[in-house]
């Protein structure tokens, strides 16, 4: 890594695209609604269900309103990128594939300390869980590795391997940078801060101070109703879109501090019910097409 110039942020993404494309993944584009994690994209959540194989990789912008730090924290962002890979069924060499992808971006496992540290992954808002690891490089978690066991409250009949890379962290590691805003974005002088600092400042104000909670609450209720209605009509992905919107609205309400501890569980339960309904609708459609 010291011999050659480290990868800039966008080249890191391009290398990963190249790598996973060669491994047979469909390279997809980010999903067009606000998501809290790459897992929540229908390219992962819905595709993890049912008996059909699937292999895809994509970058997903993630929004975590409460993680906003007004651009002042060197490690925390309310908007960041995940690189997400879903391989279904789980390949025999899942771990080796991940390690090879590290080599592809310049991390040599004989110079760096790569570890698989247990992690029982769980996402209660979409009723999903799996077993796997946090993958550490020199003590830093650079990826999340999960064998999906359940999604939307439904057991996965064909388990998949999910690999999630925290792109900023990985880039900071590869570039040896200690402040995310100092990341070399394009190799031509543009920094991550040039692109995102202003947005982090403005969104932090929005998330914590300005967002109209009454409006958010109304939108949440609307999205919930719409999602249920659409799931009943059997249109899975539109129903799931509304579930995702409700989930993001809940995160915003949470950041604004208007949800008490006891209410929290009930909101999460409501979103989970939407996810479950959308997943069931998706599965029903899948079974129809596979029999039809």
């Amino acid at each position: 890594m010291s011999a050659t110039r480290p990868l800039c942020f966008q080249d890191l993404i391009l290398r990963l695209h190249q790598f996973w494309s060669e491994k047979g993944c469909a390279i997809l584009q980010p999903y067009d609604t606000e998501l809290g994690a790459g897992t929540l994209s229908p390219h992962t959540t819905l595709r993890a269900l049912g008996p059909k194989p699937w292999a895809a990789a994509y970058v997903q912008p993630c929004r975590r309103p409460s993680d906003g730090r007004y651009g002042e924290n060197p490690n925390r962002l309310q908007h960041y990128y995940q690189y997400q890979v879903l391989l279904k069924p789980t390949p025999e060499d899942s771990q080796q594939l991940l390690l090879d992808s590290y080599r592809a971006i310049g991390i040599d496992p004989e110079l760096h300390d790569i570890r698989f540290v247990e992690d029982d992954w769980e996402n209660p808002t979409i009723g999903a869980w799996g077993l796997g690891w946090e993958v550490w490089c020199d003590g830093m978690e650079v990826s999340q590795f999960t064998y999906f066991q359940q999604v939307g409250g439904i057991p996965t009949v064909m388990p998949s391997t999910e690999l999630t890379y925290g792109l900023e962290r990985l880039a900071m590691y590869v570039q040896g940078v200690e402040n995310v805003y100092d990341l070399d974005f394009n190799g031509k002088g543009l920094t991550y801060g040039d692109v995102f600092l202003r947005a982090e400042q403005d969104y932090s104000r929005h998330n914590f101070e300005l967002a109209d909670t009454q409006m958010l609450l109304t939108h949440f209720n609307d999205a919930e109703r719409e999602s249920m209605r659409l799931a009943e009509a059997g249109v899975a992905q539109p129903a799931y879109d509304q579930c995702l919107k409700a989930s993001h609205l809940f995160n915003l309400l949470d950041a604004r501090g208007v949800i008490s501890v006891s209410e929290r569980a009930s909101y999460i339960g409501r979103v989970r019910a939407l996810a479950k309904a959308a997943c069931e609708a998706w599965l029903a459609g899948e079974e129809e097409t596979s029999h039809g």
């Binding site: 300390d113 247990e118 003590g139």
Partner: protein, 684 residues
């Protein structure tokens, strides 16, 4: 006789599950191969494998079996069932003593077929606490994907496959292949024997013996520390965890940036341990040293330079986060955080943490008063009680819940609270566990007790008691904390009164059971210290003495007394008296009331009566003045008088009034012993 070798090679097994899994494998094999007389079992476990090496017989020898079937003349159906079960025809049965009997000689079974049958069964049912499915549809589960099974008898593969009808079990079958270090020696190698497997693994950079890995970590880290004149903070749990993460432990030392050395040592240590699995180090003066130790998974090509730099960078980011909370938290005074506790629910039926803080504060004052502290200390206890839970709203405790109390102490000190107050805030969670120390500073003690008294009174009032192994609110631990704190500090308190104060007007629920709950914990504690629980039961017979110090002094005096010869005989006499009374009372009892001196017919009766008349006031005074040994001596001194009484006097005299009078005398003796304890509870 043969060597059986089994290795289950998988993707990384959670560190905390490995030892247990190895144990389970060992005991399941021993059980399943019982007929082969398994012995010399050795278990191995690590990040990617669990393995067993054992000795078994070459075969289960030929043997005969005999099983009794239905009675002669039993319905046709019963006989058919019996023959079907054993796969025989009726003419193979013989009639013995009116029953159909199957006599069968069993052929010898080779170790190979025994193992081939038992192991797949055992693997399908392996008791992982949490296991998973993978691949394209098999229902065979394992903790993480199982990649290889090696199974050899004296170096020969025991042929079996995991596949069952309709399920290929990922095509897993027994082989003679294993793998070395993931990065340094990828790919399979052939196993010839258990010994060769261990050696080959070592050349392939895997130290498969857990004790050897532990040793490498301990001595390696100690050596690095020694080079800098510093010492490691002992942490056996961390050593074990790390040894479950690496196949070839390579301890390394990193530096902590000077800019972070002003963080509280506990913050640095928790962040390093919980987030990073790093070892903390101390300077000779006991203060945090500017180094951390970590354990890599291989001897790095560059001696670990790059990975050390990487780990140092990660730690800087962690500490920057900790510094953020440390700086931010100190901007708000701990006292100003108390109102925010109103938003933190303690328990739905017991209100918020703010209400709890109020209660603890008041109770801490009451306890301080009962402890005889002065006015200033009572005020400090009340203040500390109020602040005790306020750090729950700080960012640092949100991030590291295990720092609760400790952070409150730091923040209180920063706010300029009295030293005794900030210390009490920090120490009121003591003891945190069995091996932890109890609080010693008086104000800390008052708050520590108040915290637990409120906890117990609250949950008993709403009827949330521990049951069996379930104790979600750690009430047993709280009770033990009270007992230990009182004993360690020799506190003369009336727990009964303090529980009444803690109940604070709340009635009902299971509050009445609280003294018994404390008594039970005390019993468990004394038993674990090797004390005789029957002696404690004897002194507890009249209900819990709320003054535990007094109770225990009395118990230990009694314990000593019954070990003397006089004591043993007195005990025998007391039991004899109790037996006689039990039998005679059943006939025409009870025989109570003062005996009539006019009815004594023998000197031995008069002597006992006089002895008791003298002993009772002496015992009562001694008990009142807490001279328990004197009380015991006063009663033990009755021994010769009693011996003579039982030798010379027939209690059941033919004259009814003499008999009744003698029973009254014995009854008076029993009442006298009851002043001390219920001797009937004492064994022996």
């Amino acid at each position: 006789m043969a060597e059986l070798f089994i290795e289950l090679f998988s993707e990384e097994i959670p560190s905390g599950m490995q030892a247990r899994a190895a144990d389970d494998l060992g005991s399941l094999l021993t059980k399943a191969l019982d007929g082969l007389n398994p012995r010399d079992l050795r278990m191995f476990f690590g990040a990617r494998r669990i393995a067993a090496i054992l000795t078994v017989d070459a075969e289960i020898p030929a043997r005969s079996m005999s099983e009794r079937g239905p009675r002669e003349g039993a319905p046709e159906k019963a006989l058919a069932g019996f023959t079907r079960k054993h796969g025989v025809t009726p003419d193979e049965l013989t009639l013995e003593n009116g029953f159909w009997v199957l006599n069968k000689s069993l052929d010898p079974v080779s170790a190979e077929s025994c193992v081939a049958e038992a192991v797949p069964e055992l693997l399908w049912k392996f008791p992982w606490p949490k296991s998973m499915r993978w691949g394209a549809g098999s229902n065979f589960t394992w903790v993480r994907p199982l990649r290889r099974i090696a199974c050899l008898l004296d170096g020969h593969v025991v042929p079996f496959a995991l596949a069952r009808e309709g399920d290929d079990a990922h095509g897993l079958k027994a082989s003679n292949l294993s793998e070395g270090h993931r990065f340094l020696a990828p790919g399979p190698f052939e196993i010839l024997s258990g010994q060769q497997w261990q050696e080959e693994l070592e050349t392939r950079s895997v130290i498969v013996d857990m004790d050897s890995r532990r040793d490498m970590v301990r001595t390696g880290v100690a050596r690095l520390a020694d080079q800098h004149g510093i010492t490691v903070v002992q942490d056996d749990g961390l050593v074990d965890e790390v040894c479950g993460l690496v196949e070839y432990p390579v301890p390394l030392l990193g530096k902590i940036d000077a800019a972070f050395m002003d963080l509280p040592a506990e913050v640095m240590q928790v962040s390093m341990r919980i987030n990073q699995r790093y070892f903390a180090l101390r300077n000779p003066d006991g203060k945090a040293a500017p180094y951390f130790a970590f354990v890599g998974n291989l001897p790095f090509k560059d001696g670990g330079k790059l990975t050390t730099a990487g780990n140092e960078r990660v730690l800087r980011a962690r500490f920057a986060d900790a510094r953020h909370f440390w700086d931010l938290d100190r901007k708000t005074k701990l006292a100003d955080r108390v109102p925010a506790l109103a938003a933190v629910t303690f328990h739905a039926k017991l209100g918020t943490q703010a209400e709890r803080a109020e209660r603890i504060s008041k109770l801490a004052g009451t306890v301080a008063q009962a402890m005889g502290l002065d006015g200033a200390q009572i005020a400090q206890a009340e203040r500390a009680g109020l602040l005790a839970k306020a750090d729950l709203t700080t960012g640092m405790v949100g991030e590291f819940p295990e720092l609760q109390g400790i952070m409150g102490g730091y923040y209180a000190a920063h706010d300029g609270e009295d030293e005794a107050v900030s210390r009490a805030v920090a120490e009121h969670y003591l003891p945190r566990g069995q091996s932890d120390e109890t609080a010693k500073a008086p104000v800390s003690v008052a708050v520590a007790l108040a915290d637990r008294l409120d906890l117990l009174a609250g949950f008993f009032a709403i009827g949330e008691l521990p049951s069996g192994s379930g104790d979600p609110y750690a009430l047993r631990r709280a009770a033990l904390g009270i007992i230990r704190t009182i004993r360690d500090n020799g506190l003369r308190l009336d727990l009964t009164e303090l529980f009444a104060q803690a109940a604070n007007g709340r009635m009902g629920g299971e509050l009445a059971k609280l003294p018994d709950f404390i008594a039970e914990r005390l019993r468990v504690q004394l038993r674990s210290e090797g004390e005789r629980h029957d002696v404690l039961a004897a002194t507890l017979a009249g209900g819990l003495d709320g003054d535990l110090v007094r109770l225990l002094a009395r118990t230990s005096a009694l314990s000593e007394m019954i070990q003397t010869e006089d004591g043993r005989n007195l005990l025998a006499a007391a039991k004899r008296a109790a037996n006689i009374l039990r039998i005679e009372d059943k006939k025409d009892g009870p025989h109570t009331g003062a005996p009539d001196p006019a009815l004594y017919t023998q000197d031995e009766e008069r002597a006992l009566a006089t002895g008791l008349d003298q002993a009772v006031p002496a015992i009562e005074t001694a008990l009142k003045e807490e001279r328990f040994t004197d009380a015991m001596q006063a009663i033990a001194a009755l021994r010769p008088t009693l011996d003579r009484f039982f030798e010379a006097v027939t209690v059941n005299a033919p004259e009814p009034e003499v008999r009744a009078n003698r029973l009254k005398l014995l009854s008076r003796f029993r009442e006298t012993t009851a002043l001390i304890a219920d001797f009937g509870q004492i064994e022996g």
